[in-house]
């Protein structure tokens, strides 16, 4: 990290101080956080409801006031002054402090919840007990470490969402999608599941279900305990289960065809929601080098293959053999998976092969052969499906991908690797949506003729590490799997070159060698 060139200054640090109001606001927010810390260190607050409200209220007020002080008195417009001079946003000392703190928080959350105060049978202490009143209010039961996490997560999206809205208040696209992620987080991810939990009784029980959290991001959605629970909950449960399956196989392809993956990644998704709000100050830290893109393609698609294998194995493990009891047997299921994957592979190969680069072809063929031969091996030699026990696969996926990748690295490392590391390298849902976006979607970022000046703002502020400039300066539209459609490249462009839009499939990429504005004969001669 010592190679980071913080600025060109030789004689002194440029001005980067925060104003007095921001200092007071920061102090208020930090006092709110300090209350949580005291609870964490087992200070027993007498009136928990009051202290929790004070704490969360101060954190929220601190963030909002800070943002108002930062942006309200300034002109509407791009607010990136000094981003690379500030320690927190340029991998300086405070970035590392924050990164390590967040990482430790995730480690404790996932593997040592007892230190947060999670007790047996609801007898919580410490931090978790501070959240008991709110938990009882919403779902009727005591808090868990996940309730604490969910509350803080939602608070972060709401408070930093307001900050983001103030920062981009001149840009209606940015404002609308931020309202949208705030709404989905508060309603779908937080309140509805908590209130649904209230309906549960001894005779009726639904699994905790964030409706917008779609498999394969929600990798555990089809595990046995959830399926059992859905099925035993009668019509509502069955509808939820059908909705879960339809979400990925019907709703997702339709919406992605019409709008690109942005409908999910930057309008609905909770991971995206946190990245776009709390993570926004770190968006420029994503790695733009081509080598990072190569790594990204292999890693994210490998995670997708992993989650497909894992889910297939898990579902296979609890299905029965007897078709007279239930139509979906082990065999029917496994053959359906094989047929489905073959259709996807063959369809892409036949219709879209020209659009696949060499490594994509290699990857597609390689993974397809591996999966199909593993299934074949299982049938013909009776080996365990995919060589490992379903439970081993499930646990490894949960540990490696669900916890370490999406949590510890994904969020903990915001200040170091940027805010969309998980979305870019790890999220299997993003891989599915990205595949559709790249090959079967109307969405593109249109480049405005020959107006690009190669300044690099678009690439720098692309949280997905897309070298947007590389396309724009060629007059080429940007059609990339990973683009989440946040719209910031378009916002920061000083010359009005980029526009996110849904258009016809013809000329979607529209590559030009000689750019618009030059000799018409030359353009015709070279471009055609």
């Amino acid at each position: 990290m010592s190679t980071v060139q913080r600025n060109m200054s030789l004689t002194g640090e440029p001005l980067k101080a925060i104003n007095p109001q921001q200092k007071i606001a920061s102090a208020i927010g930090l006092v709110g956080l300090a209350i949580l810390f005291l609870a964490f260190f087992n200070l027993n607050f007498p009136n928990k409801a009051l202290w929790l409200s004070v704490s969360l209220g101060m954190v929220a007020a601190g963030i909002v006031w800070f943002s108002v002080a930062a942006y309200a008195n300034k002109h509407e417009g791009i607010k990136n002054d000094g981003v690379y001079f500030k320690s927190l946003t340029s991998r300086g000392f405070w970035a590392w402090v924050l990164g390590i703190t967040l990482t430790l928080f995730y480690v404790v959350l996932y593997w040592f919840p007892q230190y947060l105060g999670l007790g047996q049978d609801g007898a919580n202490n410490g931090l978790v007990s501070l959240f008991d009143p709110l938990s009882k209010l919403l779902n009727g039961g005591p808090a868990s470490q996940w309730f604490v996490y969910g509350t803080l997560y939602t608070l972060a999206i709401l408070a930093f969402g307001i900050k983001f809205i103030l920062k981009y208040r001149h840009n209606k696209y940015e404002k609308l999608r931020t309202y949208s992620v705030m709404f989905f987080q508060l309603g779908f991810a937080f309140l509805i599941p908590e209130l649904m939990a209230r309906l549960n009784s001894d005779t009726f029980s639904l699994p905790y279900y964030d409706l917008k959290n779609i498999w394969p991001l929600n990798y555990y959605n089809f595990e046995q305990y959830r399926i059992d629970s859905f099925i035993s909950a009668g019509d509502i449960g069955l509808e939820l289960l059908i909705f879960g399956v339809a979400s990925i196989f019907i709703i997702t392809p339709i919406l992605t065809y019409k709008y690109g993956k942005r409908w999910y990644c930057s309008w609905v998704c909770g991971c995206g929601g946190l990245a776009e709000t709390a993570g926004d100050p770190f968006r420029h830290l994503s790695d733009k080098r081509q080598v990072a893109w190569k790594v990204e393609r292999w890693v994210i698609h490998s995670v997708l293959v992993f989650v497909v294998l894992m889910t297939t194995a898990v579902v296979y493990s609890y299905l029965g053999d007897d078709s007279s009891k239930y139509w979906l047997t082990k065999n029917t299921f496994l053959i359906s998976v094989a047929v489905f994957l073959t259709l996807i592979f063959a369809g892409t190969w036949i219709f879209k092969r020209e659009e696949l680069k060499k490594d994509a072809r290699l990857g597609a063929i390689g993974y397809f052969i591996i999966i199909i031969s593993l299934i074949g091996l299982h049938y013909f030699s009776g080996k365990t499906l995919f060589l490992f026990e379903a439970e081993t696969l499930r646990k490894s996926y949960g540990f490696l991908i669900g916890s370490i990748f999406s949590g510890v690295i994904g969020v903990g490392f915001y200040p170091i690797f940027g805010n969309r590391v998980w979305c870019r390298f790890g999220c299997p849902m993003a891989a599915v949506l990205g595949f559709q976006q790249r090959l079967f979607s109307r969405f593109r970022i249109t480049t405005n003729g020959g107006q690009c000046i190669s300044c690099g703002n678009c690439s720098t502020y692309c949280e997905m590490g897309i070298d947007v400039r590389a396309y724009a300066q060629k007059g080429e539209n940007i059609v990339r799997s990973s683009c989440v459609g946040c719209g910031v490249c378009s916002a920061v462009c000083p010359r009005g070159v980029l526009k996110l839009e849904n258009g016809p499939l013809e000329k979607r990429i529209n590559s030009n060698k000689i750019l618009l504005g030059n000799d018409v004969d030359l353009m015709n001669y070279v471009n055609n």
Partner: protein
Amino acid sequence: MEHIVIIGNGIAGITAARHIRKLSDPPAGETGKKITIISAEADYFFSRTALLYVYMGHMRWRDIEPYEPWFWEKNRLELKKAYVETVDTENKTLHFKEGGSITYDKLIIATGSTTSYYDWEGQNLKGVQGLVSKQDLENLEKNAPNNKECPRAVIIGGGLIGVEMAEMLRTRNIEVTMLIREDAFWTNTLPNGEAEMLSRHIKSHGVDLRHNSELDKILSDDSGNVRAVLTKSGEEIPCCVVGITTGVKPNISFLKNSKIETDRGVLVNRKLETNVADVYAIGDCAQQHEPIGNRPPIEAVWYTGRMMGEALAQTICGKPFEYNPGNWFNSAKFFDIEYQTYGWVFSEERRKDYEAQFHWKCNSDLRCVTISYHKISNEFLGINTFGIRMKQEVFDTWLNEKRSVDYVIENLKQANFDPEFFKNYEREILKEYKNKFKIEM
């Protein structure tokens, strides 16, 4: 193997190099071309128009370099950091200031611009600078690191570089006084309504913008630093930095003793050839013998540099093409207000006698549009748009099709390029147009 040497690694030189490489990837059995790019300014190509963002902390230096370092090796573009002191066209040899030389088969001069000074007293003092090169940026970082070491700066001249410099300094809370001769910002290029709106916007960013004022001389302190400037009206304005943004001129002093014919720039014909065989000039440093259409003979614009590079690459690779630019276009950003122009919209002083203009300004005072058209034929001639993004392709088509101004205003929505969900102003513009001319459309 033919050796193409390019002096200058800006947009013109690099575009030429890239296209030559693309066109000259040799078929089996032939040899390709060797391409060498010489620059004294920077190791790699960078976006000159993005210099300001480095000072403002939006980007690091490497972020304004459009290509990663491996790009040059992969495309066999050899880079040499050296200053060309003399050009010996007899022996096709360049001599470097650092010593050593290089021979060429074909030479492309693409050395760009440098700040134009007008012999002011004190212009060589420490703290007086332009903002064109990487070295200028480094100097500004030294001269104006923060508002303690540099509480106030004075910028001489408006224009694109002047307003960028003002924006840069304001991000470090340095007080900025801007002296411009005209009675509104950039009136030698923009119609008055636009210039006045920009003047108000610049002032709203805390810039002490002074119209109708000119620099008399720059005053020194005891150690040769800038202490103040004296205006022609006799006012003394204390400052630590004086930004000279009164224009740029071709950076061709190294050609003084060569056989290459120069005027203000390197004189070239439409094929971008100089008077000496196998020597070409492109970009800001090239000067057309005869202006092309309404264009000035020296076009110091990013886009024209690129287009000359595109055209010359064809010629070098055996498909002679003249530099024959299409419809004029340009863009800029003034603090928060984006500007795009397509076709020709002239300022008061340069207005053609056949040109009429329709001007619309938004109540926000942040957006306006000026459409120019032919007084008699009503043919659409060009548009300036501020605060509303518009599509180049649409205007390019309309200009080629010689559409009428009525058509353009009625169909303006087709040209809109603002992000989704942005407020549209086309109806408001149409309404005002109809009111102005009391016409039914």
